[in-house]
């Protein structure tokens, strides 16, 4: 039986975030929190491995108390156990401090049941760094497999895994040993629906809450703001361009006239665009 840990993060649905036009602050009231969409590919892949080979899936998140909702959702999809790592001391963590805390918590999980695989999403939609996965792998000294588009085979007995990894000019087929950490690429699978029994089970399961001590962290200089080498020194709105578009108009404003006028203006002012077009045009 394989024990798989899936790291998920609760994020604000950034499609719905608005910035206050005057104060440049984030208006987060009423913005729903969701499971980081990329993490669903990780969770689904873990569940598929469990379905195929038998296994146990633990979901873990580090976040504020309300992140419990994300874990409960994961349970309703079929995860077996859920751990919320939450402590005020974690506030302000950057990726280095986050991976430290998660790695430490995973070591605690491992005390009860050895971990064969850890799954992460490709990246989060709020942090967007794609660093936490590699960070956890390095701290736990695990093989790191990023941007995995498919898991070709898992040999539970030999503790071997073959995967396809997206690289810049093609796909790498890699074979490695378990335990390992995988970050799944988007579109690699589709999340299943929650089943009624799983929903009921999710509602009944207690999500474990671990504070810093339970997560095995003694040294507070390694977590939260203190444990973060990076600091945000400035937050600002992108500067608006001062020059607005030259609006092309003609007497008739008929399409033919408008585009004729556009081409004339553009080719006069930007002869290099014309040269470029002459190079690549197919007529």
């Amino acid at each position: 039986m394989l024990h798989i840990v899936v790291c998920i993060k609760q994020v604000p649905d950034s499609a719905q975030i608005r910035v206050h036009p005057v104060t440049n602050t984030i208006m987060r009231q009423g913005v729903p929190a969701i499971i980081n969409p990329y993490d669903l590919y990780a969770l689904e892949e873990a569940l598929r491995i469990k379905d195929k080979f038998g296994g146990f899936v633990t979901v873990i998140t580090m976040g504020p108390p309300q992140a419990e909702n994300a874990l409960r959702k994961a349970l309703s999809f079929g995860a077996d156990d859920a751990i919320l790592v939450t402590d005020r001391a974690f506030a302000g963590a950057d990726t280095l401090a986050t991976s430290f805390a998660l790695a430490s918590a995973i070591r605690q999980i491992e005390k009860n049941m050895p971990v064969d695989m850890i799954f992460c999403g490709k990246q989060t939609i709020d942090g967007d760094t794609a660093q936490v996965g590699p960070g956890i792998a390095k701290r736990l000294n695990l093989e790191l497999l990023t941007y995995i588009s498919s898991i070709t085979s898992v040999s539970a007995g030999k503790k071997e895994i073959v995967v396809q990894r997206r690289s810049e000019g093609g796909v790498q087929v890699l074979k490695t040993r378990l335990p390992c950490l995988v970050t799944m690429l988007e579109g690699s699978n589709e999340m299943r629906f929650a089943t009624m029994p799983n929903m009921i089970r999710a509602a009944r399961t207690t999500v474990k809450r671990w504070d810093r001590i339970a997560a095995g962290i003694e040294d507070v200089t390694k977590i939260g703001l203190k444990g973060s080498p990076t600091v945000v020194s400035k937050v600002f709105a992108p500067s608006p361009k001062t020059v607005k578009a030259e609006i092309v108009q003609t007497e008739s404003n008929e399409p033919q006239d408008l585009v004729g006028s556009l081409l004339m203006r553009m080719f006069t002012k930007f002869p290099h665009v014309r040269e470029e077009l002459e190079k690549s045009a197919t007529v």
Binding site: A91, D126, K244, V259, L262, M266, V283
Partner: protein
């Protein structure tokens, strides 16, 4: 990164730990795979050159790969693109990219020669390596930057990146840690001029590893087929469509114009999400960053998440029926009108114009 919980730290006067003061110089990781160099490396050298000049330190390229002509050639090219120096690590184990030997090699190099700044491309390879190296060295890493600068007084890298879904930018510093690391997306920085009169020297360093130390094996490499490769990032002309095209059939108008121009086709995120075009064609914050000579945007509102991916284009032509669409705030030329009639007219006008030119050229 949780910018949300952090108060901006403000400018701190900082005494750098004396052990960190030894770190000097700027490094750029020269990325290549299977003989193909990723041009983001040159873009980074161009930017790195500016930073190095501000700090008054040398700029170095880091080339890792299997022994052979390629690595030497890449060092040479690195000099042409602005490097003063190259660190070269050659070993058969570095033939294909694998996390373990590259992380080991890069961390060893950093520990041996101590650069104060290390820049990598925000590619699949660059991000995999950067995250691993930063964690191993226990230093700060800022991902996906769109702008780099230096606070010369405290020798601090000011790494600016979009945050909160691109609505805001934030500047991140790594104060009391070295090296300061950042990844930058392809095409965000301008390509420097190649200057073949430049040269530099090479420091070679051995990878202290043997194959049996490396757990992950590469069984196979399946190259992408050229026919379905989308070369949006490096296209010189792009025609893009947005939701203003209304129906999937109308997207054909984009393809037709692109065909006449020999252009690549791009799109906004909603069109990718509704399956009108492949994900590889999305331009913007969660898609590709492009900087063509000409970008034609039809039925695109110009939302910030789209804009950050394309506003470095030389000339932007926007077609939108709403005179108040945000895209007109930053486009070069605007046509207020219906994309469904303007696009065919534009295709025709370009066809005629370019055919004329060709005829003239032949006549001469």
């Amino acid at each position: 990164m949780s910018e949300e919980t952090k108060k901006p730290a403000g400018k701190k006067k900082l005494e750098l730990d004396p052990r960190l003061a030894e770190y000097r110089g700027i490094w750029v990781f020269i990325e290549h795979e299977r003989g193909t160099l990723h041009t983001v490396s040159w873009e980074l050298l161009g930017e790195g050159r500016k930073l190095a000049d501000k700090l008054g330190v040398p700029l170095a390229g880091v080339v890792m790969g299997e022994p052979g002509e390629d690595t030497r050639r890449f060092c040479q090219e690195a000099f042409y693109h602005g490097a003063d120096h190259c660190y070269l690590m050659e070993d058969p184990l570095l033939k294909d990219y694998r996390n373990q030997p590259f992380t080991k090699g890069m961390t060893d190099l950093v520990n041996a020669y101590k650069p104060e700044i290390l820049l990598l491309g925000a590619t699949t390879l660059g991000r995999d390596l950067a995250g691993s190296v930063a964690t191993t060295l226990k230093t700060g890493l800022t991902a996906d930057c769109t702008e780099l600068n230096i606070d010369v007084e405290i020798r601090s890298l000011l790494a600016t990146r979009p945050t909160f879904g691109g609505s805001l930018l934030c500047t991140i510093q790594t104060l009391n840690y070295r090296p300061q690391m950042a990844t930058v997306r392809p095409r965000v920085m301008a390509m420097p001029k190649r200057d073949t009169t430049r040269s530099g020297d090479i420091t070679e360093h051995k990878l202290s590893m043997i194959e049996s130390d490396i757990i992950t094996k590469v069984l196979e490499f399946i190259p992408d087929q050229n026919t379905n490769k989308i070369n949006l990032e490096y296209a010189d002309i792009i025609v893009s469509g947005g939701k203003g095209l209304k129906k999937q059939e109308n997207f054909q108008l984009i393809w037709e114009l692109a065909k006449v121009l020999g252009a690549e086709v791009g799109a906004t995120r909603p069109l990718v999400q509704s399956g009108w075009v492949e994900a590889g064609r999305q331009v913007g914050q969660t898609g590709k960053t492009v900087r063509p000579k000409l970008y034609i945007a039809a039925g695109i509102s110009g939302a910030i998440q789209h804009r950050v991916g394309m506003d470095a284009s030389d000339v932007i032509v926007a077609i939108n029926n709403d005179p108040n669409a945000p895209i007109f705030d930053f486009a070069t030329y605007g046509i207020v009108g219906n994309a469904m009639t303007i696009l065919p007219a534009l295709t025709e006008a370009f066809r005629r114009e370019l055919a004329n030119r060709r005829a003239e050229a032949v006549a001469v």
